[in-house]
């Protein structure tokens, strides 16, 4: 297969949210260096010049990294020669569902796109849930919250924000979400203390208390956000912290002491990298 066709298949897989990875021979002698193999869940495609045997052997060798969708450089021995390969995974882009197409929803949708989420906006009002208001969103669904949450796939990369116009809509949404077998990575719900208390009170009738301890509410980190754009920053700070399994504390709180000593030890990485 030609390199161009390989990239075409790769783009397709990314678009369809299929697990896919690309293997590059980075140090493997003059004939192989730069050649690629595309790995999909059931198949592997070698670039022109890569034999079927080598393609299959590489796929088998990379299987653990493929399963974990782990990007890494590996040493692979083929016909008694060491080949350095780069296994690059393209895990499906995280899916952000915004329930409620109001004023806060707008900057949240924009920022979600900026951060690489595939964004869906849901609302039952046609005058709010439309492509004109949410031109940046990948999908705008004009339907009731309860019917949307009944069927939408919930996966380890699904992030849900309840930004609806009234607490009864949060209750309807959560009733669906909490009765589903699958769990999303994150559920955040906007609201005042009173509103939250009201929602939980109604949920308590059908669900045990533990079932909503993992709901992030009020949504976002404490940065004093007031305007819709500020609220969006606060929300995404929290979502990223959850996704990256970090505390959300200021980076300076960890390294202030080390900085005073001149960063002699203990600073493994730059602050803004994972």
């Amino acid at each position: 297969m030609k390199k161009e066709a390989l990239y075409h298949k790769l783009s397709e897989a990314i678009l369809n949210r299929t697990a896919v990875s690309l293997v590059t021979f980075t140090e493997a002698g003059p004939d192989l260096t730069g050649k690629r193999i595309l790995l999909l869940p059931e198949t592997a495609y070698g670039e022109k010049g890569v034999s079927d045997d080598l393609t299959n052997a590489t796929a088998a060798f990379c299987a653990p990294s493929f399963l974990q969708q782990h990007t890494t450089s590996l040493d692979f021995y083929w016909q008694n020669k060491r080949h350095t390969i780069f296994h690059e995974a393209f895990p499906p882009s995280p899916h952000l569902i915004i329930a409620g197409a109001g004023h806060v929803g707008e900057p949240v949708a924009q920022m979600g796109k900026m951060l690489g989420f595939s964004v869906t906006v849901v609302d039952d009002r046609p005058s709010f849930a439309n492509k004109e208001r949410f031109s940046c969103a990948d999908e705008v669904c004009c339907q009731s919250f309860h019917s949307y949450f009944q069927n939408v796939p919930l996966q380890s990369f699904t992030y849900i924000l309840l930004l609806t116009r009234g607490h009864q809509f949060d209750v309807l949404s959560l009733q669906q979400l909490l009765s589903r077998k699958d769990r999303p990575a994150y559920i955040g719900m906007i609201g005042s203390r009173r509103r939250i208390a009201g929602v939980f009170e109604q949920l308590r009738i059908d669900f045990p208390k533990e079932s909503f301890t993992h709901i992030h509410t009020p949504v976002g980190l404490d940065i004093g956000a007031e305007t819709p754009a500020e609220i969006a920053v606060s929300i995404f700070a929290e979502i990223l912290a959850v996704r990256n399994k970090k505390s959300g504390e200021p980076l300076s709180s960890h390294i202030r002491e080390l900085a005073k000593k001149g960063f002699r030890k203990g600073t493994k990485r730059c602050g803004n990298t994972k």
């Binding site: 590059t24 980075t26 730069g34 990007t71 450089s73 780069f86 990485r269 730059c270 990298t273």
Partner: protein, 100 residues
Amino acid sequence: MITMIHTFLQIKKPAALATIVSTKGSTPRKKGSKMIITSTGALIGTIGGGCGEGEVIDKALEVIKTGQPVTHKVDLTSGLLYEDGGICGGIMTVFIEPLL
């Protein structure tokens, strides 16, 4: 970025692709970060900026001429402060290949 690479392969305009394939210590961007360098030195994407990137651009222009992929190690540990403010302290391996 993948769409961009695909487009470059289709239009057959001379260019090189630089990919970070491994990192050690503190580097500005992680594995898999990519940058396309055209024959005029124009850039699409970034692998972290600063001195490290300058080195890679020079190498990439060579790769476009020779057509041979190379692996290049960028050492960011030599001085704490670069003039342009790059203060990361790691080593990254960058694979640079012609896009054809």
